[in-house]
């Protein structure tokens, strides 16, 4: 019995997934679009959350706006444009490639290239290190040490 309750408790976090507002859609395709949109639009108040995750009041209103536009037959593109015209590219979780966002897109590759270059320099320098020449006395000593091992 105790075990049962233990597993039942594990299911508790799933309840969190229950949505805050239940919007009714006349068409499942619209509902899917709505879910897609609120997942890719960013909440401006808590900037590391999307609209779907955020409980901020502005996010609630932006979800309602998205819902109304989906219900009224706006395309995904129209809704995204509506948001970008007001809040800028910042509202998108995957911002378009523009001069202002170039660093965001290219940055990781620049860091990668710099890393590879440093690695190559490091390896080359190591190969160039001169081999240590041993004198005949040292050779003899090494030989005797190796013989002793046997």
């Amino acid at each position: 019995m105790r075990r049962f309750w233990f597993f039942a408790l594990l299911l508790l976090p799933v309840l969190v997934l229950a949505n805050i507002e239940a919007y009714r859609f006349d068409d499942p395709a619209k509902e899917a679009r709505y879910r897609g949109l609120i997942a890719e639009l960013r909440c401006l108040v808590c900037q590391n959350q999307n609209l779907a995750d955020s409980n901020a009041e502005l996010a609630q209103d932006m979800r309602r706006q998205t819902y109304e536009m989906v219900q009224n037959g706006s395309s995904n593109e129209e809704i995204v444009t509506f948001m970008v015209q007001r809040y800028g590219d910042f509202v998108l979780y995957s911002p378009p490639f523009r001069p202002s966002t170039a660093l965001l897109w290219i940055g990781p590759f620049i860091i990668f290239v710099v890393g590879v270059v440093i690695l190559l320099i490091f390896i080359r320098r190591r190969n160039k290190e001169p081999e240590v020449e041993l004198s005949s006395a040292e050779h003899a000593r090494a030989q005797s040490l190796l013989d002793n091992k046997k």
Binding site: L44, V45, Q47, E57, D61, V84, R86, Y87
Partner: protein
Amino acid sequence: MKARYLIPFGIFMAIMAIFVLGLHKMSEDPNFARNVPSVLIGKQAPEIVLPDLFDQSKMVSSSSLNGQVWVLNVWATWCPECWREHDFLMYLAKKEGVKFFGINWRDDEAAAKKFLKDKGDPFVAVGFDPESRSIMNWGVYGAPETFVIDKQGVVRWKNAGAMTREVWEGELKPLLNKLEKG
């Protein structure tokens, strides 16, 4: 040879230094992390048509200020910075002749009315926007936010955060003077 092993430690310390400086900068400026650049600067100002805070059977419209230089202020009684800046807004409206159009955002109607009754009303008109209908057109994501609109109806400036004497003297006043002449 030993110094080599200090390199990762050095890198670690450098990263820590950047974090500490970043946090320090954020703590000094409450808007540091939040200042999302406005896309409305240089664009035609969205028209505001909202129920009048004082009489919701009537509407207020920003078109009443067309042809003038005016300032939009988005505020609410739940916003601490709005309380802080209010006296200064009163001063600007009464002594400097700034024309403020107010949007009361997602607020309690009675609390908002009481706020203006107790502390004075710096606004030409106040629209009541409990559902973010109008503020969303302006890309507002917090309160207070302040915009300047010129005689041609173009948005020229935006400030997120409280209006202070430094902001007024450093940015807003010179801009308003310039726009009044233009």
